[in-house]
Amino acid sequence: MNLAVSIGSLKLKNPVMTASGTFGYGEEYSEFVDLNRLGAIVVKGLSLQRREGNPPPRIVETPSGMLNSVGLQNIGIEGFIKEKLPFLRRFNTPVIVNFFGDTIDEYVEAARSLSSVEGIHGLEMNISCPNKEAGWITFGTDPKATCDVVSAVRRVTGITLIVKLSPNVTDIALMARVAEEAGADAVSLINTIAGMAIDIKTRRPRLANVTGGLSGPAIKPVALRMVWEAYRAVRIPIIGMGGIMNSEDAIEFMLAGATGVAVGSANFVNPTATVDIINGIERFMAEHNIADIKELIGGIVCRSQS
């Protein structure tokens, strides 16, 4: 039974990775999960300088989901390489670093400083976080800006480059195509959907930042649709995420066209979600005599049977 998949030049032992920002720097969950079993570890989004992030409250639960406005708090690339990476090097699981910047130069800077570090196997560009200033969001929502920033980063890095797409766009297929043409090795989607909540007693937003990003099972139908649309638009592999709670969900994303899947908020509800999902996929493949997991990718049956 073969679960291995490839993302760019990365060979993953299975398609299950962690979604950036929901698995810390790996260490936090190493007590619950054997990190060696994961397809890949995607760490919390990093920037050149460390970031303080947004004021609290940063989390609010919503029906079958949650809003967060963490605001990209992180310890900075240098801090990560010094304090966190050594631990991750102990495992034979590819480490993918999610990163972002406020300007194209910052993106390029960051990519450069991450590309030739031992123990960093791939990069995921976050151009889609809905928690930042309006001027910033346009990276992920404007095709031209996306093309520019991805091309610029592509020029300075040779390692696997994943572009993480924003769901807050009119045409996800177009954005995926733009990323592909700009040189991305893969696209990952979806990031959180911008949302908000209000406390009617205090009349105040439940998040100090007013708006935040919606994640969890609530957004799964939207994420699945976007993966399917992207799949029909590009030839590079897709990493699907958004509300994946169990192996059935993961398989649904692969049938829609995902080569890899990322587990996000599910980690909070079930710290062993990632391995549970890997085990579940293996069970499913055994039950349905699926020899190679690649058979599932894009396997949705949409042809008329009549």
Binding site: Y29, F32, P57, N68, V70, M245
Partner: protein, 278 residues
């Protein structure tokens, strides 16, 4: 002994309209919790009636209240949908639990005279400490009204001195625990006595405690609350502002030195969010 385990509800007793005492038995045991630590508790999603039901979604943090021969206890107040659902979970229902999490209350040194200050549900996090410090600590416990005061006999047993207060004066002194604490400190302070405050309760009370701590130069450990997603330091959702920047309540806390906390009403909105209209 994993810190993520399945637990069975042994008892889920209603104490009064708003408070329940829940005893759960960790299957396969769990680490020994220390006073001040907490658990993230959610419904077991592998079994009905909760299989694959995602509302409520997140686990809920609850302090370790006490350890009994039967199992671990938490004392919880019925607040919203999560605790309401928990109230209705009967004996034998399975829970999925992460913990014990966070840092316990630092133990007092020999010379310290511990003062335990609990406001309302704050007792949930301090009872276990009171038990540990039996015979040593002065306990200040207050609530809105008398029938919200719980476990008075136990507290009487643990306390070197017990000071009760209620907002309506129905039991104990009329007023807040802070009034009583201040009286006490004014009456019973001397250059030689070294007090150490442990406090848990409403935000406003904790804020006042930190002022008392600063004004009187008494170290105060407080247990603070923030909304949490993961409980294990991964999501950065439980940030609280401290002198050294944002700290994670679940990991650097929930117990903090009162002077570390930078108090705000938690709504420092970035200017971009000021409304255009009105």
């Amino acid at each position: 002994m994993s810190r993520y385990f399945r637990a069975e509800i042994a008892e889920n007793r209603q104490l009064n309209r708003d408070y329940n005492l829940l005893t759960f038995i960790p299957s396969g045991g769990s680490e020994e919790p220390e006073p001040g630590q907490f658990f993230m508790i959610g419904r077991c999603m592998e079994r009905t009636p909760f299989r694959d039901l995602y509302d409520p979604f997140l686990k809920r943090p609850f302090s370790i209240f006490r350890i009994t021969p039967v199992g671990c206890q938490i004392l919880y107040r019925i607040k919203g949908k999560g605790t309401s659902a928990l109230r209705d979970a009967g004996e034998g229902t399975f829970l999925d639990v992460i913990g014990p999490l966070g840092n316990p209350y630092p133990m007092p040194e020999g010379v310290d005279i511990p003062l335990i200050v609990a406001g309302g549900i704050g007792i949930a996090s301090l009872m276990f400490l009171a038990e540990r410090l039996a015979g040593r600590a002065y306990i200040f416990y207050g609530a809105r009204t008398g029938d919200e005061l719980l476990f008075m006999d136990d507290l009487r047993g643990y306390a070197k001195g017990l000071f009760i207060s209620t907002d309506d004066g129905s039991i104990g002194k009329k007023g807040t625990t802070l009034d009583v604490l201040n009286d006490f400190l004014t009456r019973c302070s001397s250059p030689v006595t070294r007090y150490l405050i442990y406090a848990c309760g409403p935000g406003q009370m904790l804020k006042a405690i930190s002022e008392i701590s600063r004004k009187r130069g008494i170290t105060a450990y407080i247990s603070v609350e923030e909304n949490m997603a993961c409980g294990v330091g991964a999501c950065l959702g439980c940030a609280v502002k401290t002198a050294r920047g944002y700290k994670r309540v679940c990991s650097e806390g929930p117990v903090f030195d009162a002077n570390e906390i930078v108090w705000s009403d938690g709504y420092e909105l970035s200017s971009k969010h000021r409304q255009l209209k009105t």
